[in-house]
Symmetry: C2
Subunit: 455 residues, 2 copies
């Protein structure tokens, strides 16, 4: 009888071909025109789980895109039950956005799989399906009980997951959750994320005249909405790059000296950042290291701007309106809705009387911190050592996985972030990719993690 | 034999039907995909001029869209020769931009013709063709020699008109130019524009990372290009809404007390502006009336903004780049290229080292002031009195007709602005319209103008 890890090594090419089939389904949840494709991806995963021997497999309806559930519960009552969470929906992608390859045709170049969803999160969720397959195909059993929960709305804020959790508490009852949807900076240095940022995503709409005006006929006596929007945005940060919204930092847990010392060990050199991103220089909140800025401090980003004429050449329009997408990454213990209120009230307080301004809330997620001393986290440490080949750093992650807070509140369980991505994978941007080596090392590590949970 | 004005009145419906045929051709010069339609509009006008009896009609090539030329030169050497300038190209328009009707299907509602180009400038140039037709169809002769010059690139900066003027000085030799491409605030109070603003149209491109980043993975340590752009734009104006670019106002001719007194008579009430545009309040440079702000003072507008995610909902991208279209309306004696240099150098001086900033020049036009005491301007005054029914105000126009400066420099002639539009026609915006009454009154006034030039 082959060992599960040997089996996984023998099946490398087959596993990748299967992953490619999943990636080819453009399950873009942000675009309602793609709802059929989102469903097709759910059904594909359900079929694959059934094929490898999972039980109770179902594509379960929600008010939005469906949830895929499946389990394997024959490890016995002494073994822990692990909830594996992932998401099969993806961000939009179009060749025109700067992709070198077709975004939904996975292409291997120099050890990377280039495709939308390759890293975020199809490749990472597939690791766990393949880990279970490796146990069942060799030993006929896994060392732990497993429940798989894959949602189709993570990229649009997981709006229907919380009602699903509330309605299915018995079905989902577990001892711990594992999520593979985070990244590390270096393949040789795995990262165990213990803190996640929350999110408050807003839109600022500035309107002036009821229709676009001729800039010659009205320019100079009407407040240009694009100018007014820029003037508002420029007041969102202080000169030291901290956020100027009154009360914004009130709930932030201060960093302890011990935590700052740990984060200092993993600090990011400006040269590394420049090499990764091609920016001319680092930026950020004065008084904090780069590592602290992305993991331990809340931030505010402009995710989009739109006003007036944006095509080729010149059009002398005085635009009727201007729009900005603005989002905050939050840290413990900031409350996303409170942050929306603070930003909204501040923007209204600085909005000039010459335009109309509306701040809308589009999306929210709670920040989370996880206890690194739990046996589950320690099993993950051991799994990285055996399956990946190196002990992980403890890290704070800049991104948001709001469901972690939901799992804690609704199911009473902690989540272990068993990430297999690289921060340079380009999730959400063009040319997203996933390392071939990390996909296969990830399967090894997941196998070790399930084994180590049983120890 | 019928009088030319009687003929024009008898032909009202026919003239409008003919105008509608011209308007239906979507001669959008800003979009290279429409080059064939631009040419078709030129050929349509050439055909119409030939039909009414103009001579030497030709669609003449340039490096871009063609120029339409035609003349009628049988008034004899004692009569002045008038160069009629207009443009047959239009701004882009799409039903999706907020049009209530199809933009290229002229629709008459409540005395207005709704269509792109109805006012700017097809309707106004057509007035002169119909005025010549009215003379030739009734008297077989016009009182003055006429040369028609209609270009197809006004909306994209008339780049190829200057070389055309230089290459065809003999063909175009005239005593005065007449241009109908300006507006008035009130149909009962015609306006004779004696000053036009110039234009410097630029684009600011801010780039940071070489590709879009995940806002969770990098937000807080990379300067968001959309934020940096907003911060730059917010420094373009001072708190009193004057322009903050050093040296920007150096060449501006100060307003004389006499001129301010004349402009004060035509000042625009804030209530009128609010009713026209639906803005909540007026805006602009402190120390100047609304009329002075749009006519006598230079301005700076943001014509467009684009960055990152601009679709429905949320996408947590940290955009790689951000773009703004920025244009300045200039007054005598500002030099458009010098203004570009000043804006560019100022933007570079305030650009943070954390992003890359490029300021490009897209388009330019000189400002102009015309002598109101000339016999040509006085003929226009008389023509408005007889043909329109009211003596005109002298006004400074906020818009730009850069060719006025070119005609002065290359052909040595002044231009009379015989405008028939309303400032509320919505040129360049959705639901552009042209008053039916003003179209027909315009033909009467053009007939009177040609007669009065001969006196």
């Amino acid at each position: 009888m082959t060992d599960p890890r040997n089996y996984a090594h023998e099946q490398r090419d087959t596993f990748r071909r299967q992953l490619f089939d999943l990636i080819r389904i453009p399950s873009i949840s942000t675009d309602s025109a793609h709802a059929g494709e989102v469903r097709r991806a759910a059904e594909w995963i359900a079929g694959e789980m059934t094929r490898i021997g999972a039980e109770h497999v179902a594509v379960m309806p929600t008010a939005g895109h469906p949830v895929v559930y499946g389990d394997w519960l024959k490890a016995g009552p002494a073994a822990p039950t692990v909830l594996v969470y992932g998401h099969y929906d993806v961000q939009p992608a179009s060749k025109n956005d700067g992709w070198a390859t077709e975004p939904f045709e996975p292409t291997e170049i120099d050890g990377f799989i280039y495709a939308r969803g390759s890293s975020d999160d199809k490749g990472q969720l597939f690791v766990h399906i393949k880990a279970l397959e490796s146990f069942l195909a060799t030993r006929g059993a896994a060392p732990v009980n497993l429940k798989f929960l894959f949602e189709g709305e993570e990229e649009i804020g997981s709006k229907n997951l919380l009602p699903f959790l509330k309605a299915n508490k018995d079905l989902l009852r577990s001892d711990v959750c594992v999520i593979s949807d985070t990244g590390m900076r270096d393949i040789h240095q795995p990262t165990l994320t213990y803190a996640l940022r929350g999110l408050t995503y807003m839109q600022i709409d500035v309107t002036g005249p009821s229709k676009d005006l001729h800039s010659g006929g009205y320019g100079g006596m009407v407040h240009n909405p694009a100018l007014a929007l820029a003037q508002i945005i420029a007041k969102l940060h202080n000169p030291d790059n901290s956020i100027a919204v009154p009360g914004f930092y009130d709930a932030v847990l201060p960093l302890s000296d011990e935590e700052r010392a740990e984060l200092a060990k993993q600090d990011i050199a400006e040269a590394t950042l420049k090499a990764e991103t091609d920016v001319p220089a680092a930026w950020g909140e004065a008084g904090y290291t780069l590592r602290e800025r992305i993991g331990a401090r809340p931030t505010m980003e402009i995710n989009g701007l739109l006003s007036g004429w944006t095509g080729e050449g010149s059009k002398t329009v005085l635009p009727a309106k201007a729009m900005a997408k603005v989002s905050c990454r939050l840290v413990a213990n900031q409350n996303p809705y409170r942050i929306y209120e603070l930003v909204r009230d501040y923007v209204y307080s600085i909005a000039p009387p010459t335009v109309n301004v509306v701040v809308s809330l589009l999306n929210m997620g709670d920040p989370a911190i996880i206890d690194i001393h739990s046996s589950y986290v320690q099993a993950a440490v051991s799994a990285y050592e055996r399956g990946w080949g190196a002990a992980p750093n403890y890290a704070r992650e800049g991104g948001s996985i709001p469901v972690v807070a939901d799992f804690k509140r609704e199911l009473g369980i902690d989540s272990v972030m068993l990430g297999f991505g690289l921060n340079t994978d380009g999730a959400h941007g063009p040319n997203e990719r996933f390392s071939v080596e990390m996909f296969h090392k990830g399967i090894d590590t997941a196998i070790c993690f399930y084994e180590d949970l049983r120890k």
